[in-house]
Amino acid sequence: MSKTVITLPSFGLTDPGADKTIMWDDSASALAITGPGGDKHTLVGSVWRLNTSFTGDANPIDANLEVVDTDGYGSLGSAMSESSGIFTFPSTGVWYIKAQLGCSSTGAIAYHTIAIHTTTDNSSYGSAADCNANFAHSSGTYHGSASCDCILDVTDTANCKVKFVVDNAASHSTKGNTGNNSTYFVFIRLGDT
């Protein structure tokens, strides 16, 4: 394993006596920051998006998903994997998850919900976060957006999973695009569990 270690000077730190180490670990293909207590913050991140619009509900969104691949996109570390709308994390850790909804409505007064559902037993999902775009016009086409996020402690990649749900969207379109992010999902590993 090849490692490049850079030890930072202690200026600006709350604990000036403890140097911090930034280590590039070729085997992990990720940047690891090690604190004085040995806690590691391996940075991993990726963005997925819906590439095709649809109308109506989805539990979960399970088709037409892709990793962003345009406009200079880049990711860090190992990729998330997805099967039938269930996302699996590449490693344990504390993960930040964001769901962004792009939507439109034609002549329907209603709300349009997107939610992040998580499980820690690979079976029972709960709504960790949700948000609504509200439409209040009975005619014409209007566009909306909403976003929600949560943090999930992934202690076991086989059991801690996430999916995304669209609800109450019978007359609304959930917008997908393969050229830019309209409805999309962000996954960032913040640190060790």
Binding site: T52, F54, T55, D57, D62, S104, T178
Partner: protein
């Protein structure tokens, strides 16, 4: 936003994620795939469906109806017009806009 792609029509055909593209970077009819086992609209269904959506959008957003709608006085002002000038006075006010944007 004016409908410009057959995807705008396809999302009106059935609810849910029933369709997708074999190449999402090339969304042409030949690459249209069906996820739910249901029927696949014909290419003419798609082009005709898109045309119908565009016609409806144009009528709503770029026609005498939409131009009149943006120029009519507010309901409050129209009620005030009726109060002060009577129905005939109000009709004269409205006729100005109707004549300006005739049915076409």
């Amino acid at each position: 936003m004016r409908p410009t792609h057959i995807e705008d029509y396809l999302i009106t055909v059935r609810l849910g994620q029933w369709f997708g593209w074999s190449d999402s970077k090339n969304k042409v009819y030949a690459n249209l795939i069906v996820h739910d086992g249901g029927s696949k609209p014909s290419e003419s269904d798609c082009t005709n469906g898109l045309k119908a959506l565009q016609d409806a959008w144009d009528l709503e957003n770029d026609s005498y109806k939409s131009k009149r709608r943006t120029e009519y006085p507010s309901i409050a002002d129209q009620l005030d017009d009726i109060y002060h000038n009577g129905i005939d006075g109000w009709k004269a006010t409205i006729k100005t806009t109707k004549d300006k944007y005739a049915k076409g």
